[in-house]
């Protein structure tokens, strides 16, 4: 057991997976010799050789397309897209190929692969280093989408994703890489070394895909969140003093629908929080599922707190970010309704 940052735990997931399974290979832009611009793959090339961890040309369609071919061959590629914002040149390979190879070939071929990518804002990355594309992945049948919120989960979920026999989009909230953020951009953050979820086994383990985690039990209202927003929700709950149940979805698809339904049926109220733009964001699907599964238990309309419908602006990053103030306001509103 060690204290790890999220970067270290992600690295440890790849390291332990590569150690136990020769078919695991890691590649992407700058991930080889240098170890990735966020250093998630540091040391892997040295340890496992440049045929198992290597730099790729700057071509996201090539990264994903070649990973599909390798997966069809029998390997388990775990590739890095430098920022989630840059996954779109490879989106055709994801949405039309990786996602459908099992189905269209009736299991003759499969695409067990992981596409890792840093996601979300909070580092003044502007419109091209801050996007959260999870809803777009969730709309594509055949893909799985995972978004961890802490080092322990990140390692276990990434190991499970690498083991999984379907293509998994693994979104890493970059604001959490070095510390749990604690919801406010203008206050000091707790380092992972002081956070209980920064305690990570050194050996291989998995956290199953498709299971949400209840980060806080409560009776008054259910907050559905994932990634960075888990901490924003925690801050807002603490500040408002509302007895909310905070559910960290962890996996967007497959989704732990039963956990969501059970919680909302219990509380009768729900606030959904994500950083992505609002229209057709994953919050819309959550809203729809709550409508379908819990309508008769609802005492107030569900509220979405999300990024606004525009590119992530550079200077106004923190006005754009759905912070504790906005989430707190939603909590109060849903309780007053």
């Amino acid at each position: 057991m060690s204290r790890m940052t999220m970067i270290q735990s992600i690295r440890s997931a790849m390291d332990t997976s590569m150690a136990r399974d020769e078919s695991v290979v890691v590649f992407g832009e700058d991930v080889g010799y240098f170890g990735g611009v966020f250093r998630c793959t540091e040391g892997l090339q040295k340890k496992y050789g440049s045929h198992r961890c290597f730099d790729s040309p700057i071509n996201e369609s090539g990264i994903i397309g070649s990973a599909i071919g390798m997966a069809a061959y029998g390997l388990r590629p775990c590739v890095e897209i430098q920022f989630a914002d840059y996954v779109f040149p490879g989106f055709d390979q994801l949405s039309q190929e990786a996602s459908r190879i099992r189905y269209r070939s009736n299991n003759d071929f499969t695409a067990p692969m992981v596409v890792r990518m840093p996601t979300g804002g909070g580092i003044f990355g502007g419109q091209t280093h801050s996007q959260s594309p999870e809803a777009i992945f969730a709309h594509v049948s055949g893909l799985k989408t995972v978004i961890p919120s802490n080092p322990y989960d990140a390692k276990g979920l990434l190991a499970a994703s690498i083991e999984d026999n379907d293509p998994v989009m693994f979104l890493e909230p970059k604001r959490l890489y070095n510390g749990p953020f604690d919801g406010h951009h203008d206050r000091p953050i707790t380092p992972w070394s002081k956070h209980e979820l920064g305690e990570v086994p050194d050996e291989y383990y998995t956290v199953p895909l498709g299971k949400a985690a209840t980060r806080r039990e409560g009776e008054a209202v259910t907050v559905l969140a994932y990634g960075t927003m888990v901490y924003v929700a925690e801050a807002a709950v603490e500040e408002t003093g509302i007895d909310a149940e905070i559910i960290d979805l962890r996996t967007i698809l497959p989704l732990d629908i039963e956990a969501i339904e059970a919680s909302v049926k219990k509380t009768g109220r729900c606030v959904i929080v994500h950083e992505a733009t609002k229209t057709c964001g994953f919050g819309a699907e959550l809203m729809a599922l709550v409508m379908e599964g819990c309508f008769y238990h609802l005492e107030a309309p569900v509220i979405r707190v999300t990024g606004y419908d525009m590119p992530y602006p550079h200077a106004h990053e923190w006005e754009y970010f759905p912070g504790p103030k906005r989430v707190g306001a939603a909590l109060k509103k849903v309780m007053e309704a």
């Binding site: 078919s23 290979v25 045929h51 198992r52 790729s56 040309p57 071509n59 369609s61 090539g62 397309g65 070649s66 990973a67 599909i68 071919g69 390798m70 997966a71 069809a72 061959y73 029998g74 390997l75 040149p89 055709d92 390979q93 039309q96 190929e97 190879i101 099992r102 189905y103 269209r104 070939s105 009736n106 299991n107 003759d108 071929f109 499969t110 049948s141 055949g142 799985k144 999984d164 026999n165 379907d166 498709g210 698809l253 497959p254 989704l255 629908i257 039963e258």
Partner: protein
């Protein structure tokens, strides 16, 4: 920005390439230079790309107009192998004709034939070994038909019937057979070109000895995944053969819309340091020899080869297309590289091991086999009349395990 002392500005205009012949024109390819059979040199497989630029701009040919096999690329196959090749091509042609008819009879939604370009897939399939993998487009049925893939399975898929190996999920002709080295075809163009390179990289990463072959059409080389494949194949020296089937047409669009000026598709390889060969795609012997050279290169760890097969799409693009709207009906007749079946037949007759009579006989036998397979397949149903795989199979295999939301959808559907 300063004003340079150059010529006065003059109006520009957009250059939109046009094919030489449109419906009503009399096609005449006499100005297209066709290099003599046997003229192209055969370099060693470890040659550097920059030392064989010429081979990317010529057309490597083996059979001359008199049916002789000549030059350094000749002599790779014995008569029995060539007879097998001829039979393979005849099988593809007859199979296509039968399935075209089935589509017109309403037994399926759609069909695509390989008429005029049968030599390419048929000859290519012979250079692969068990375990190698093709990443084909929709016009390489020859790879399956010249291997031992059962025709009745192909038909079952074409009819989307209850015995369809893909359970009716895929379009007709979008086959998949790992066992036969045939990667699941995508309807989306060019995506498989880079996947094949990735597969080949996988083999190299694993210290395996298997190679991959990626396939693409002339029009589809314009797609960006062509570039991705070239970049990855050249960077990692992937053991892959990159096949461009230049059949002159992409639906209604001629190859000039994908290719600039006097450049060839093969010559695209040179900018990546990839050896590139341009070959007569209607010459079974030349296709085999060139493909073999590329396979040997790949297996020897020397990396990828780009091959452009010059051929002609003699039929419509698909059963949804009518080419008389955009090209002269007689263009194939005027096509200077002839018909691959006729040419190989003449070669064998000239060798004295074949005859018109045996040709007719072979054709009849194949047609009988195909008719028999068709009777079998139809018993399993056809697209509109069924039966199909159970509707419940529609919900399966989206993921390895069915997630709750799909379980619920299936329950709602009551299947």
């Amino acid at each position: 920005m300063s004003e340079p002392k150059a010529a006065d500005p003059k109006p520009l205009s957009l250059h939109v390439p046009e094919p030489e012949f449109r419906p009503g024109d009399k096609p005449d390819f006499s100005n297209v230079p066709i290099p003599k059979a046997g003229a192209a040199r055969k370099p060693p497989i470890d040659v550097d790309a920059q030392d064989i630029h010429d081979l990317a701009y010529t057309i490597i040919r083996v059979m001359d107009r008199e049916g002789n096999a000549v030059g350094p690329w000749a002599g790779e196959l014995n008569d029995d192998e060539v007879k097998q090749g001829l039979e393979d091509m005849l099988r593809v042609r007859a199979f296509d004709a039968r399935m075209q008819k089935a589509q017109r009879q309403g037994k399926t939604s759609f069909y695509m034939q390989a008429l005029g370009e049968e030599a390419i897939a048929c000859a290519f399939s012979k250079v692969l070994r068990p375990g190698d993998m093709n990443f084909p487009t929709y016009r390489q049925q020859g790879l399956l038909l010249s291997a031992d893939y059962p025709m009745v399975d192909m038909m079952n898929q074409i009819y989307s019937n209850k015995a369809d190996p893909l359970k009716g999920r895929q379009l007709p002709i979008m086959y998949s057979s790992k066992q036969h080295g045939f990667f699941t075809i995508s309807g989306n163009l060019a995506t498989q070109f880079i996947q094949g390179v990735g597969w080949a990289m996988g083999s190299a990463i694993s210290g395996d000895d298997k190679i991959a072959a990626s396939w693409i059409g002339d029009g589809s080389t314009a797609e960006s995944d062509f570039h991705a494949a070239m970049v990855f194949a050249s960077t990692y020296r992937a053991p892959a053969i990159l096949n461009v089937v230049n059949n002159q047409w992409a639906i209604s669009t001629f190859q000039g819309i994908a290719r600039g000026k006097a450049a060839t598709f093969a010559s695209r390889g040179l900018g990546f340091g990839i050896p590139a060969l341009r070959v007569d795609g209607n010459d079974y012997l030349a296709v085999y020899a060139v493909a073999k050279w590329a396979a040997d290169r790949a297996r020897a760890g020397l990396g990828p080869t780009l091959i452009e097969y010059v051929t002609y799409r003699a039929g419509a693009h698909s059963t949804s297309d009518d080419p008389s709207a955009y090209r002269p009906k007689t263009e194939f007749d005027a096509w200077p590289l002839g018909d691959p079946v006729e040419r190989l037949k003449e070669y064998l007759i000239k060798r004295g091991t074949w005859s018109e009579a045996r040709h007719v006989q072979a054709n009849e036998m194949l047609e009988a086999q195909i008719a028999e397979a068709n009777r079998e397949a139809v018993k399993n149903g056809t697209l509109h009349d069924g039966p199909h795989a159970s509707a419940k199979t529609m919900f399966e295999d989206v993921y390895e395990e069915m997630p709750l939301h799909i379980v619920r959808q299936r329950q709602e559907a009551g299947v």
